[in-house]
């Protein structure tokens, strides 16, 4: 099955779900097309706390770099660059944004000048366009990640989530995927949720 997976590289929950998806690719016949969405666009008109606003403002920077890198080098750079960024943000708990972006670009073998896109609002349109493709699948008012997969009668269906912690591995990851595929085939399913009682465990 072919699956599309949209992430914002700065969201720890999306990071966990992305690592689950990587596990799923090992144990199920699934191929993922990695795509980009944006916490910045998601929260643009939301009434959020000042602290969260500061965090959200920071998310534009790696999102612009990812979008610009894809524009220049194609879809294949999205996953390695996202993973190089996310490993540093989430597993490494890094907050030194300039260094994280520079190191991630170097790790993936991309030109260091791409880092300049981080502070260049001319790439905001690219961020908005790719974000809109995620929202087209999940609808508005949700979060990151968004996954689109084959649903009822072969039509694509998109969901925010699954939000989960810690990262399911191996056959546990496969089984969660099997359950998700079943749920995607239920016409009209829009939500399953419980209050989060623990924070994200990212590794």
């Amino acid at each position: 099955m072919r699956v599309t997976f949209w992430i914002d590289p700065m969201c720890p929950w999306a990071w966990i779900t992305s690592r689950w998806m990587v596990e799923v690719e090992k144990v199920r016949d699934v191929t993922v097309d990695w795509n980009i969405m944006s916490l910045g666009v998601l929260n643009e008109h939301n009434d959020v706390s000042d602290d969260y606003k500061k965090l959200i403002a920071r998310t534009w920077r790696p999102a612009r770099v990812l979008c610009r890198a894809r524009e220049l080098h194609g879809d294949a750079v999205v996953f390695p660059l996202f993973s190089a960024l996310g490993t540093r943000f989430h597993v490494g708990k890094r907050t030194d944004m300039e260094a994280v972006i520079a190191e991630a670009l170097a790790e993936v073998g991309l030109e260091p000048e791409l880092a300049q896109a981080a502070d260049d609002p001319q790439y905001d349109d690219l961020v908005r366009q790719t974000h809109a493709t995620a929202v087209a699948m999940s609808g508005a008012g949700v979060g990151t990640p968004v996954i689109a997969l084959e649903g009822v009668d072969g039509a694509q269906v998109g969901f925010f989530g699954p939000i989960i912690t810690p990262i399911p591995r191996g056959e546990d990851a496969g089984r969660l995927w099997d359950g998700f595929v079943l749920l995607a085939q239920v016409p009209g399913l829009v939500e399953i949720k419980r209050s989060r009682t623990v924070g994200p465990v990212v590794d």
Binding site: V142, F160, P162, D178, F180, L182, L183, V186, K193
Partner: protein, 157 residues
């Protein structure tokens, strides 16, 4: 559980759940479930809006005494209403909605989820897939959320 208690904690919408608790006290869980469904069908499928009449008719349909319907107007069963509501929140957590479903988790203990929210009633194969998928996801204690925007009109039949 009670939408009124979820939304603002006020008592204006408590009539139907008070009657259900009165039915439970009078005749037990099975009869209370029958009344819950009889009230729900009138409000959600038939679109009836006179809640006092809905409760009275449903109580009669279930063969319960008029005192059960009258309990909707009193605070006699409010403690039971709140206890039942709190039991739901204990499973599904605060800040969610109704329904809350308690299902077997990884160690056999019950875990609660708000939902599954569906815009139409899954029947037959779809009902089975929803149940099987829900059990599989609930087997992961750290599964918290799966969601999309509600675009479709809710169909109650």
């Amino acid at each position: 559980m009670s939408l009124s208690l979820l939304d603002d904690g006020d008592a204006t919408g408590l009539g139907p759940v008070r009657a259900v608790e009165a039915a439970r006290a009078h005749s037990g869980d099975e009869v209370a479930r029958g009344l819950l469904f009889a009230i729900g069908r009138r409000i959600n499928v038939d679109g009836e809006q006179d809640i006092s009449a809905v409760v009275a008719d449903a109580v009669a349909e279930c063969g319960l005494p008029a005192s059960v319907a009258q309990a909707a107007q009193t605070t006699e069963f409010d403690d039971a209403v709140r206890a039942s509501h709190e039991a739901a929140l204990l499973l599904g957590g605060e800040g969610v909605g109704t329904p809350i479903i308690g299902i077997p988790g990884p160690g056999g203990e019950r875990v609660g989820y708000f939902g599954p929210v569906v815009t139409q009633t899954p029947r037959g194969d779809a009902a089975g897939k929803l149940w099987d998928g829900l059990l599989i996801l609930a087997a992961n204690p750290g599964f918290y959320e799966l969601k999309k925007e509600r675009r479709a009109k809710v169909v109650c039949d």
